[in-house]
Amino acid sequence: MSMRLFVSRDAGAVAVGADEVALALQQAAAVRGVAVEIVRTGSRGLYWLEPLVEVATPHGRIAFGPVSENDVPSLLDALAGNTPHLLRLGATDEIPWLKRQTRLTFARCGVTDPRSLGDYRAHGGYKGLERALSLGSDATLAEVTASGLRGRGGAGFPTGIKWKTVAQAKSDRKFIVCNADEGDSGTFADRMIMEGDPFLVIEGMTTAAITVGATKGYIYIRSEYPHAVEAMNAAITAAKRGGYLGDKIDGSMHSFDLEVRVGAGAYVCGEETSLLESLEGRRGLVRAKPPLPAHRGLFGKPTVINNVLSFAAIPFILAEGAKAYADFGMGRSRGTMPIQLAGNVRHGGLFETAFGVTLGELVDDIGGGTATGRPVRAVQVGGPLGAYFPRGLFDTPFDYEAFAARDGLIGHGGIVVFDDSVDMRRQARFAMEFCAVESCGKCTPCRIGSTRGVETIEKIMRGERVSENLAIVEDLCNTMKFGSLCALGGFTPYPVLSALKHFREDFVPAPTTLQAAE
């Protein structure tokens, strides 16, 4: 009998050598005459342990990591003799970082072969769609609404209401669009699930399609994610072949076709109306709302546009029932959130958990503090438009409303950790610079204000008329907040003002303060 090994094909694992490790395992095993089967899975999301190698045993999988090519011979020795190994982590499911999670959306990610529809089905895949088919549209909408699911792209809009609006709209054609632009720094959950469990995204979109009466869908993936593009295309082909896309889906009367479209390096195209413009082949200029995409979206037709994680949450909700999902969470934030720990963090990766965990638990306890071992000074939550939080606010629970109450946002769930060498003036400057580079150009406060913001913060950095220039920055932020059509111009003030407020000492240094090292 051959030995079954599992090595991730996730871009994050490949970037640190997973392909080389898989190849070395194959070759070394061949030399030894040992029969091995290497399954390339998604990532478990414990990135500091990648490349992770798992082996199937009668008692479940055993993990080793982080494995390099050089470790391969000793690893094979340990596997052959069932002897100890320095990199042995024990049973994968018992690794505390994994065990503490509540994996509803990411249950299969890192476990199954993302290229195999059969594997997906064998692990509970398409149960949700089958239930939706038997429930019918109204009852499915009721389930999605009752789950309390809110859009995971950032704005947190109730998914059930969005779907209902499109379901009720009368039109010859309707569309389902998956927003896979994931432009926020510090986020990678969309990428992971597209690479690690692509059928889940397809199932979620297909469920939306049969529920609202749409026949065509697009997944708009950013061009920085070539592996995700490849994985989604492969899964779409397999789903078509398996009767889960195309005509008469899963034996029903519904048909649904799905196509991947690739972005072209514009952050603003993650904004839903800009994305629709881009899909239509135009410049990604943000559209004024109303009309809502639910009424007039892609090609002027009623359109459901949701984030990858929103669609990916649907199969669980339908398979297990709305209540099973809504039982997790706090307040109006129901269910789980795949939280992404990134930057200068010891245990970086994907941690799916019920809403309500505090920022401090996430950063210190789960994240293990910084990778450099220096004190954590600031964390940016929610991408480039998210606020910087100091340690003093680490009691904030992960919840849409709790973050808003502290002038922040959870956005797409990314947390970027900085140690005490960070210069918050540079971070404020970068926020403005990013806005200036990525502005679609439609509103003056966003386009011009951000450029002025960069210049003014640079003056502050040079020590020129600091208090006057700080007042100018605050003023600019207010103009951007209230005079911008979308959240790019409207939310750039969050990182800037939070840096000013919580890290004032960086902007008005006492005469004796040493400059932070570069």
Binding site: G186, T187, R191, G343, N344
Partner: protein, 162 residues
């Protein structure tokens, strides 16, 4: 598997260009799809292709030009033989990415956004590759590299210069 976007490009040729355009033009909202296909084949979108795209898609030249210039990905001239992209977004900044970017600039003698005089290496910024848990990150001709440090960066730069 890693070589998703390899840098093997054809020389611009009008007939071949027309063929590529025709292959994708019938899709709905095809402009980006066509521009991507042209760039994948030729390594850039030749000026001469813009009016051809416009004609095929029933758009004005200005419209196609407008789309072409809006998106950071599209090039109007070929890049160097190798393209080294360094992530400049926040998670990579937090992990020391800025110092590495400065080091790459010094080693190659060009600033981000430029190509070396011998046309060998184009050094570009990129804003997040989704590898933020193994930051800092880079991409060399479509191959991803995480946990970048001085040693790994120097090796990448040397590889790009070959």
């Amino acid at each position: 598997m890693t070589a998703v976007y390899e840098a093997h490009h054809e020389l611009w040729d009008e007939t071949r260009g027309a063929e590529i355009i025709a292959e994708h033009a019938s899709q709905e909202g095809a402009t980006l799809v066509v521009l991507h296909a042209l760039q994948e084949a030729f390594g850039y979108v030749p000026e001469a292709a813009i009016p051809m795209v416009a004609r095929a898609l029933n758009l004005s030249r200005a419209e196609v030009h407008g789309v072409f210039t809006f998106y950071h990905d599209f090039r109007h001239k070929p890049a160097g033989r190798h393209v080294l992209k360094l992530c400049r977004a926040e998670a990579c900044q937090a992990a020391g990415g800025e110092a590495l970017a400065a080091r790459a600039e010094a080693r190659l003698g060009v600033s981000l956004g430029n190509t070396t005089a011998d046309d060998r290496v184009t050094l570009e910024p990129i804003y997040c590759l989704g590898l933020c848990a193994t930051a800092p990150s880079a991409m060399l001709d479509g191959r991803l590299v995480g946990r970048l440090d001085e040693k790994r960066l120097d090796a990448l730069v040397a590889e790009a210069q070959r």
